[in-house]
């Protein structure tokens, strides 16, 4: 294994500027277009309207889509199950941070 230390890199916050198409998401998630369409139909991904005939997604959709794909593949959960897991995880996240704030 080699170790390389590199110069200073800078990038922007992806979620702040990215607007993604179905093709972008399918490429970034290494899946077929149909998988992305199914995620939209199941309500896992939300389409944002930017006066376009084609579906557009916010940058935050990338993380959600990748998590959905991982859950589907690794735990063999079907799509409605994935949608439920993601919603419950979000709820759990909210509850946890509320608990953090109120603790002590």
């Amino acid at each position: 294994m080699r170790t390389v230390v590199e110069g200073l890199l800078s990038g922007e916050i992806f979620e702040d500027y990215a607007v993604l198409s179905v093709d972008d998401l399918s490429r970034l998630c290494s899946v077929d277009r149909t998988c992305i369409v199914e995620l939209v139909e199941e309500g896992v991904l939300r389409v944002i309207e930017v006066d376009s005939a084609e579906w557009r997604f916010s940058g935050a959709a990338l993380r959600r889509a990748r998590a959905a794909m991982r859950l589907q593949k690794d735990l063999e959960i079907n799509l409605p199950g994935v949608a439920l897991v993601l919603e419950l995880m979000e709820e759990l996240g909210r509850v946890r941070s509320e608990l953090e704030v109120q603790r002590r």
Partner: protein
């Protein structure tokens, strides 16, 4: 190299049935899946379990693995026997068949036994440290990684170093994990779960001359801060005040991300009183707020003077804090 006891990893007996192994895998996979688990070493455990399952679920691999016995004694180095794999039909064929681990994720132990014939690009994966496939011709794969970030980085910006293991093809054409230490300028105001995209820092595997490398997506999570808790862009600080400061009101010093400020405690405050300091949270075009939650700290009655003061207070105030309990 370290010997891996795959039965121990899966928590099953050496004579476990296929059904038992599958059941154990499912249970562990749910427990350690990085998207669901809050366990500290979830990512590493999930990979370990996936690797163990990859071997134990495939009869040929399991049989070959079983021939190794229980491995060397503790502290001894493991080396595959010279006749390793003779008579078994698995070389390379099955290593990509299940789970969703990317090529560079298996341990050295696994690679030395089962990894011989594998080549990069065989499959894609969406795991945080893996390359994705489906890159266009002439464009390298995108890489995705997850890092822990301190709150100060998002509050003030600044550069941070991240050590990442990223897949790369070596001179022999094998897929290896390369350790890269990236020095990254953290964008101010980034939140947990958000991503820094570093254009052109992904893989250049298979791009050929003149091709463009893929991009690197770094997802950040925050390490806990000693003073502030984070909720969205808002920060929460617990500020201890003396009973008389809360009762009578006072001017006290309070830490904020931008430095120490003078804070006015209103008279009649109590434990849990929430004071909002506008726009002192995580920066953005509409920055978050800092909420100061008051805590009442009691001075200890350790000496006569303190005891006397408490007695004087008790005498002066007819106060029953338990009236709401009916006692």
């Amino acid at each position: 190299m370290e010997f891996k006891d795959y039965y121990k990893v899966m928590g099953v007996a050496r004579d476990a049935t296929e059904a038992q192994i599958k059941q154990a895998y499912r249970k562990l996979a749910r427990k350690y899946h990085p998207d669901v688990s809050k366990e500290k070493d979830a990512e590493a455990r999930f990979k370990e379990v996936g690797e163990a399952y990859e071997v134990l679920k495939t009869p040929e691999k399991r049989a070959a693995y079983d021939q190794l016995g229980q491995g060397p004694r503790p502290g001894e180095n493991f080396k595959p026997p010279p006749d390793w794999g003779a008579g078994f039909e698995f070389s390379g064929a099955g290593a990509n068949s299940g789970g969703s681990q990317g090529g560079a994720d298996y341990s050295e132990f696994f690679e030395s036994l089962f990894g011989g014939a594998r080549r990069a690009g065989a499959r894609g994966s969406t795991h945080p440290f893996d390359a994705g496939h489906g890159a266009d011709a002439g464009r390298g794969e995108d890489h995705h990684a997850k890092v822990m970030l301190d709150l100060d980085a998002t509050l003030h910006g600044g550069s941070r170093q991240f050590g990442l293991r990223l897949p790369e093809i070596d001179a022999q054409g094998r897929l290896i994990a390369k350790e890269r230490t990236l020095n990254v300028q953290v964008p101010k105001g980034i939140l947990p779960g958000q991503t820094i995209r570093l254009a052109g820092q992904g893989s250049s595997i298979g791009t050929g001359a003149g091709g463009t490398p893929g991009d690197l997506y770094i997802e950040v999570e925050f390490t806990p801060h000693p003073l502030y808790r984070v909720d969205g862009r808002d920060l929460y600080l617990e500020l201890p005040v003396a009973p008389w400061e809360a009762a009578l009101g006072a001017g006290v010093k309070a830490p904020t991300p931008g430095g120490i400020v003078d804070l006015k405690i209103p008279a009649g405050s109590h434990a849990g009183t929430k004071l909002r300091l506008k726009a002192r949270g995580i920066p953005a075009s509409t920055p978050g707020d800092l909420y100061v939650m008051l805590q009442i700290a009691l001075p200890a009655a350790t000496d006569d003077k303190a005891k006397q003061a408490y007695r004087a207070l008790a005498d002066a105030l007819p106060f029953n804090p338990r009236t709401s309990l009916g006692v």
